[in-house]
């Protein structure tokens, strides 16, 4: 029976908080399991460094992901090469796994548009800042794949618990249900929409059960258990692309988890939640859980962990070096991409802008 065939309130788990197996371990080869661990460590270390860069004034406002690595990596690693990902603004880990270089994620949060210029072959939409606004895009993208007969492709969409309150969530999932689009709607329920707790978003007992209203399956998973996340995402992808019978169908996954840090570096969570709650969730940290499982099953040892630690540090340091040494974007770039070609109006404004720069230099524009 599919892992999706269950009550939306019956949370899927594979590992308990100590990393002990309590469910069915998904069929993943050893190498991929270790890669999963490597990427989770990478995401965590990147996150720690990114917050520190912001604190040092080397980067703008940044939304941290610590605590959510299990959900991001466990789901993204289940995707096939040709699948697409439609993220919110916190999916730095999932994006990395899907081929977006860390350097670009850094550039985006350093205020460079270039951070959103996806490399060829990287199937990721630009991060959507307005909450839930990306959900209908994901439905449309999957619909397009279906209409064009590209039946081997699914589209995963990430969003948070707060997003389920927006109209776009309803409309996106409703279309998906009506048109049977090959989607996986992946809700990172991290308990807090800035200061507003999950209970304030909806009177529904779970977010997964909202699927019922759209005529699609909803499943709740322990989002800090990367193996459980992998299992449900894989099952949802199979259902979207290779159903045992009938047409492919969408799924709503609610991955229950916690953001250990602030909503963004501009936020102070101590105002609205207490340390006790944070500590309770930290006991579910997905990284030691997976590490413990890998060690217990002989897939990794001290040496392996140390090698990954060294690799992770190096990769993040290299990415920061690359992002910071990237040349400042040329200011005239802002006139280049509003349309395929500059309109006469934009051309005139560009010329006026260049004349001003010629006359006053960059000092004529830059504030402190």
């Amino acid at each position: 029976m599919s892992v999706l065939q269950r009550d939306p309130q019956d949370q899927v788990r594979v590992l308990d908080e100590d990393g002990t197996v309590v469910g069915e371990v998904p069929d993943i080869d050893d190498e991929t399991l270790v890669e999963m661990y490597r990427y989770m460590r990478l995401a965590r270390h990147f996150d720690t460094r990114a917050v520190s860069l912001q604190r040092q004034g080397r980067m703008g406002t940044y939304p941290p992901l610590s605590g959510q690595e299990g959900a991001q990596i466990g789901s993204a690693i289940a995707l096939d090469e040709q699948d697409w990902m439609v993220p919110s603004y916190r999916e730095h880990g999932a994006s990395l796994l899907r081929g977006l270089p860390l350097k670009q994620t850094l550039l985006y949060w350093m205020g460079h548009e270039k951070g959103n210029e996806m490399p060829e072959g990287v199937n990721i939409f630009p991060p959507a800042v307005p909450i839930a606004s990306q959900i209908p895009h994901a439905t449309g993208a999957a619909w397009a794949k279906k209409l064009r007969g590209e039946d081997d492709t699914a589209v995963i969409c990430y969003f948070g618990d707060g997003a389920t309150s927006e109209g776009d969530f309803h409309e996106g999932l409703n279309f998906a249900g009506v048109f049977d689009t090959p989607n996986v709607f992946f809700c990172n329920n991290n308990q807090w929409a800035i200061s507003v707790p999950r209970e304030r978003q909806t009177a529904s007992e779970t977010l997964a059960q909202k699927a019922t209203a759209y005529g699609i399956d909803g499943v709740q998973v322990d989002g800090m258990d990367p193996l459980a996340v992998y299992s449900v995402t894989k099952a949802a992808l199979d259902k979207a692309k290779n159903p045992a019978e009938g047409e492919g169908r969408p799924t709503l996954i609610e991955a229950v988890q916690y953001r250990f840090g602030a909503h963004t570096t501009a936020d102070d969570p101590t105002v609205y939640r207490d340390d006790e709650e944070v500590e309770k969730w930290k006991a579910k940290d997905p990284i030691p859980r997976l590490e413990s499982f890998l060690r217990e099953t002989g897939r990794i040892d001290d040496e392996g962990v140390e090698a990954i630690e060294a690799d992770v540090k190096q990769r993040v340091a290299d990415a920061i070096e690359a992002a910071e040494s990237d040349p400042r974007p040329d200011p005239s770039e802002m006139f280049n991409h509003a349309y395929a070609e500059r309109t006469p109006e934009i051309q005139a404004q560009y010329e006026e802008f260049e004349a001003l720069r010629e006359k006053f230099g960059d000092e004529g524009f830059l504030r402190e």
Binding site: A193, V196, E363, F365
Partner: protein
């Protein structure tokens, strides 16, 4: 009257606090306005003071926030919903333009909406994408709405109280770049600053410079710098985008015969166009030079690495004024 030295964002908070104390029908609602006190702390302490029924943390849904406020206002409450950033008003746009602006007209005055929709707007704070735009003209284009943008702590409190007491819906946009840039004297008591009246910030004879919100700062600085070049500029702070105080605009222009408009919103369809047309209609024979618009460019607002190049700078404003004066 006793007074306090407040920033603009503190004046917002003080205006809400003052009016909530005076009128039980006034309530605040929005995302993170309660325990968190708003992401900019514009509602700090109000939740402790007035409780969960008057300072309401809502689900994350702007259409829901605006739409339910419309319903509340129609029933006689005076809701002051906050949208966290003006860039997130668009899920509520349908409610704003299809209903908030038109209940009075659609019911021949039977139902009215004494509500104020607050949102911080504008660039320059190194914020992420969709957090920096200046789109006041979307709302100015909609009959039935009043659109207010203060630029000083004193005006902020006085205009906010006027907005809350106004029988019609008001879009109250707050210049977040200068939320904490400086302090000003603000009376502790209630007082109002009238909606629909511009303020002459500096009198001058050579050229009239019209601006509002955060752009009053580079404008005043540019005008001071130009004194050394012998240019005596008048600065008019528009304060209410709609209904526009055409009288003050025309009066100032008739005195100087030259005009510059400074705003961070895109040039195309910006307030500068409306001010220019007003001058053409009402003071053509006084005109000695083309009206110069120093505005945001007609391209999407760039991510913050380039935002200084997009926003009118002191040098750009100075150059615009020179152009108008030396024509």
């Amino acid at each position: 009257m006793s007074s306090q030295n407040l920033t603009i964002v503190q004046a917002v908070r003080d205006g809400l606090y003052t009016e909530m104390n005076l009128d039980d029908e006034v309530l605040v609602m929005g995302e993170d306005v309660g325990k968190n006190g708003g992401v900019f702390r514009a509602t700090e302490g109000l939740w402790d003071e007035f409780g969960d029924d008057r300072v309401i943390d809502t689900p994350l849904a702007e259409s829901g926030i605006v739409g339910t406020a419309v319903g509340m206002a129609a029933m006689g409450l005076k809701p002051v919903p906050e949208i966290q950033f003006s860039g997130f008003m668009y899920p509520g746009f349908d409610q704003i333009v299809s209903h908030m602006s038109r209940f009075r007209n659609r019911t021949r005055g039977r139902y009215t909406l004494p509500m104020v929709l607050r949102a911080p707007y504008g660039g320059g704070i190194r914020a992420p994408e969709s957090h920096s735009e200046s789109k006041e003209m979307f709302y100015a284009h909609e009959a039935g709405l009043k659109v207010v943008i203060p630029s000083t702590p004193y005006d902020t409190k006085g205009l906010l109280i006027s907005a809350i007491r106004d029988p019609d819906p008001v879009i109250f946009m707050e210049p977040k770049l200068i939320y904490r840039a400086f302090r000003g004297e603000v009376p502790e008591e209630e007082y109002t600053v009238p909606i629909g009246e511009a303020a002459v910030r500096r009198e001058g004879t050579d050229v009239s410079v019209f601006t509002f919100g955060a752009m009053t700062r580079p404008t005043l600085e540019a005008v001071e710098n130009l004194e050394a070049e012998g240019i005596d500029a008048e600065v008019v702070d528009i304060r209410t985008i709609s209904p526009l105080d055409r009288e003050t605009i025309v009066e100032s222009f008739k005195k100087t015969g030259r005009a510059v408009v400074v705003h961070e919103a895109p040039k195309n369809g910006g307030l500068g166009a409306e001010i220019t047309a007003t001058i053409q209609e009402e003071a053509l024979l006084y005109q000695e030079a083309p009206v110069k618009r120093v505005a945001g460019y007609d391209v999407p607002y760039p991510l913050y690495a380039l935002e200084d190049y997009y926003l009118p700078s002191v040098a750009r404003v100075e150059e615009g004024i020179r152009e108008a004066v030396n024509f």
